[in-house]
Symmetry: D2
Subunit: 357 residues, 4 copies
């Protein structure tokens, strides 16, 4: 029997439970040995559904007691991502951290700094921030086609992360912790822009506007339910972003990358499956209601590839630094959204302030 990676899961909320299940049921080279959550009921669920792993109410206790642990998935509340990640890094564990590292740039940077420090003595340690779209088969196909030169030099990027309308008020409560719609939703699109344009792309300016079309209560948390942004890069590349909490039909996450010789479009014709329904009102297809319906396979690929790079000591599928770069752009867009001002940066990434911008 081949050796399996001993993995713990921190956080068993909606997304944590999914990650746990992906590692337990769909990652043959991994073994879920322990879980932690501050909620006893979630631990009970894990006992029953994850093959009876050891359970801990305390993250720290898990780290302390699980001597053989090799890797940990951090899917707890966003507010503790960075702190938990740093502790796990310092313990020498491989870490897969849910996005974002933090809604705060400095906190995000601290995770990267801790990892860099740790790598000096543990060169084989792997730490990644899980941007699920990087594992999606369609985005990968688009990226490979781009890399092959199919569309020439990529120049204009358009991407949107648009959630289905949730009339329950969930998004309003969530806005207190999410970092704002650009940090919560568009972070994925920003990461894609950096991927497709090149990780070393330097932002020149960001501008954003937004409205509260269905949830005016969002304004008390400095958030909006629909927002548009433009990101300008120094190397003659531009990106437009749209994020929304108001889609009627379901999750609408689409991306287009236009190059000097062609264009690649991902999910501009969304569909839940291959069924079309012909009825008196026309021809209809359904689309996934939520991002998990769209990206479930990508999450499973993520679990398997993270496991493989830990076991085989191969390069991780993405660099941790990119996660900070994405948060940096997301925070700037969110600020522009609220202040109404364009924000500019010099070529080393420093913010330009001038009296008469």
């Amino acid at each position: 029997m081949t050796t399996k990676l001993k993995v713990a899961i921190a956080g068993l909320g909606r997304m944590g439970a999914r990650h746990a299940n992906h590692f337990y049921s769909y990652t043959p080279r991994a073994e879920v040995v322990a879980v932690t959550s501050p909620v006893q009921q979630e631990l009970d669920w894990a006992k029953t559904n994850l093959g009876n792993p050891r359970t801990y109410l305390s993250f720290d206790e898990l780290l302390e007691k699980e001597k053989d642990l090799q890797a940990i998935v951090i899917a707890s509340a966003t507010s503790v991502h960075a702190e938990q990640a740093i502790k796990a890094i310092n313990k020498g564990l491989h870490v897969l951290c849910e996005k974002p590292l933090s809604t705060n740039i400095e906190q995000s940077q601290k995770v990267v700094d801790a990892y860099r420090e740790s790598l000096k003595t543990r060169p084989n340690q792997k730490v990644i921030c899980g941007f699920s779209r990087r594992f999606d088969a369609s985005y990968r196909d688009a990226f490979e086609k781009l890399q092959s030169g199919l569309i020439g030099r990529p120049s204009v990027f358009r991407s949107q992360t648009c959630d289905k309308l949730d009339p329950s008020g969930f998004f309003v409560e969530y806005a207190q912790f999410s970092g704002g719609i650009f940090v919560d939703c568009s972070i994925h699109d920003i990461d894609l822009a950096l991927w497709f344009f090149g990780e070393d792309s330097v932002v020149k300016s960001v501008t954003a506007v937004g409205i509260t079309a269905v949830s005016p209560e969002l304004r008390k948390y400095n958030d909006r339910d629909n927002a548009l942004g433009i990101v300008e890069f120094y190397d003659g590349k531009i990106a437009q972003l749209y994020c929304s909490r108001m889609m009627a039909a379901g999750q609408e996450d689409s991306t287009e990358i236009t190059g000097t010789a062609g264009k690649l479009a991902v999910n501009t014709q969304p569909a839940a499956n291959l069924v079309n329904i012909y009825e008196p009102t026309g021809i209809r297809r359904e689309i996934p209601p939520h991002y998990y319906g769209r990206f479930r396979d990508a999450f499973i690929t993520e679990a398997n590839e993270f496991t493989a790079c830990c076991l085989d000591n191969t390069p991780p599928p993405m660099k941790l630094e990119g996660a900070v770069a994405a948060v940096r752009i997301g925070c700037a867009l969110q600020e522009s959204l609220i202040t109404g001002k364009k924000i500019e940066f010099d070529e080393r990434g420093n913010r330009i302030t001038r009296a008469n911008l």
Copy 2:
């Protein structure tokens, strides 16, 4: 001012009125000088809407009195198509006859015979049977691509003519005169098969089955509301046909032609226009409710090209003989539909009968 073709319209029912309007409003080189219909009210409509043409209750009187007439469009009841066409041919007029020439093969053949005879003394006379799809931009594009060799040797053909469900009972009444669903609907698909496979393709066998899923009353007229047919040709080509009166969403006329190196599909993703509607039930598009919504532009092209070939003495866009070939196949399919028997033909087109087929 350039000379215009002097045209008369025979029949001003639903389709006749449309033809009249196409010639009056959208065929700059034609002039509607006279119309005939046994319905006074239709003649009154023509007076008002077609620039005050001369009107006749009698077809024969029109032929007699309109000395300067050059061409006539026959869009009267199917049962008089052949008779009127022959009279017009004998008068030396150019004729555009609505499909079918007749629901009866012998009658259809008589029109062709009359035209052949007439051509001996009037070599410039044009007579065509209007298969509208031959004038449709998409079918023409497909045909040109096929001709260019894009799909290799065309080998398998699939086509359907499927009408929107009409709960009024219209199709039951209509079945008395239509010649049956294969002659009325599939005639278009058969004509396309002959066009794409080559006009000289020889039928080897036909088989058909059918049901009455929504209109059992059709059985009293030996008709069905849904039918499937297979047509086998002698040169290694096969075709499958579907005709229906039961579509929920609208008119669904689609065609696929598979060759040894590729396939061309026409209207397999029907759409009324370029609009998509995103709503809580998914993404929806509407489709044309009736064949006229799908083929209006083709009818207008037909009017213009017929006019041009008459005025310029250029070859007509299709041969009249093809209209008989299509009726012949349609009638055989209709017979097979009712008898349940496969019908076979020898290579000269004669029917094979054997005791132990």
Copy 3:
């Protein structure tokens, strides 16, 4: 015979010749009686192809001599649109002016002022600026669905006018006169935004960025080959625009309008016709190479509806004032594109300037 509108065509270049043909061949209620162009060869073409109208090398001479003229189509060089329109208005003619009225806001406004003045004594005079998309069947269907409440309150608008790459350098030369990519291309999208959001929408701010990905020479004319813009309106509505001269596949003009209860998308899956091609590289469809391929039918509808409103003295299909509003926004975007600054307006439409914007 019904009376026809006596129309003259001014300008017989690429678009002028098309307009002339639409009025001559596809507008049954209009009659092309005269044409003018400074190019003799174009007048010769008109003699032959437009039923031998009277021809003039001088616009002024046409106005003077054509005593019975009722209407004029101005499709000359953009630089003389405004001047010719004003002269025709003052002569009492109905005017259909190609877009834009002018690339200059003041000039555009002068046309509107002239029309307002003229209306005092000629209340039946019709003057419109031809935004072809307002006549497009798909945009109209979307607008009707929006009006019916299908998508709730329209809130977010996205639209793009993207031309096929033209390696001949045409767009560089053209940039000297076009007013820039936002005035030339996005003017259509801006007009659509005003139509869908309501003509009385007041702009709050505009921002734009752009690049020269394939034609760096454009910079000498202060233009770009790809540009992104955001337009913010005072009533909680936002719009994002994309214009490009670099599409590989053809003309890609698409629009999405998102409301609080749904979304309408126009041409987000472009197609030249209903043909799909199955070949070893996959499934392919072609798209129209140029805007005329996409909007030909809309131009013909425009000709017919303009003719009808003149003859029947019905309200014109759109207000002339809208054309100035669109130019105003287009010019502001173009300025922002070049200066890199966000431009803001107060609720009465006046520009806000502040030291510390």
Copy 4:
């Protein structure tokens, strides 16, 4: 740790290796304990890639020695399916047998008979024949919508299984053992027809025609590379089938089921993923090259559901009898394809022979 189902895999060829991998890597409740293949090299592969299971060159030896075995997957050569299935059934094992049970109706029936006999003493034994499409998410969605009444009474069925052209000659060699194109390919479509129309549907007649457009050598094995079939059922339902070995773009398996109130279409717009490529020749998407690319997820679901029904003693997802019914229809179509004769059945399923059919 929950108990896992002890599974053996018989046959490790292309499809066997895939099944083995699905059970090993993607079926958390199953454990691959043993494998058998007459090819030593395949057993070696299994050692390395399936967690070191016990290996056997002889199927009989495996059955004899694996005392704790609970279930077996039979994915060996079609010619031994039935024999191996019967042996495993008699041993009391749960069996998942690749389709078809046999290309021979009598052999197929013997498997069913053995199972029925075995059930008398082992009521919890599960034996299914794996029709993968029954596990496909899109087909299941369509089936649920049909069951919910969305399309009224299902009446007309169209389905095709069309393989990508394989110029290597593979299909010719394969034709010796495949049972013919209707038994090899259309068996899936026939199973779908029985599923959608109801398992108890009784065939009234079948007719088929075919050609050899690219592989005339197939004729020596009484096979064709393209064939069309019609199946008529006694309860007013009809089906048309198309099978081919000649698709240019990839695997094209699509299905439409038309009811009295609507239609459901599955995969009529095939796509490998969500990417669209815009390039000078138009807009293109790729499609899966082979059935495994289309149905991989369905095979994994099959493995999991088979495992679950064995462990939990729940009803199997489909009845074994259906597999015989499908073979029966497939063989009749293949016979009609070769003889050119329509084959008819009475309402109890007996073949009707008459002198003057």
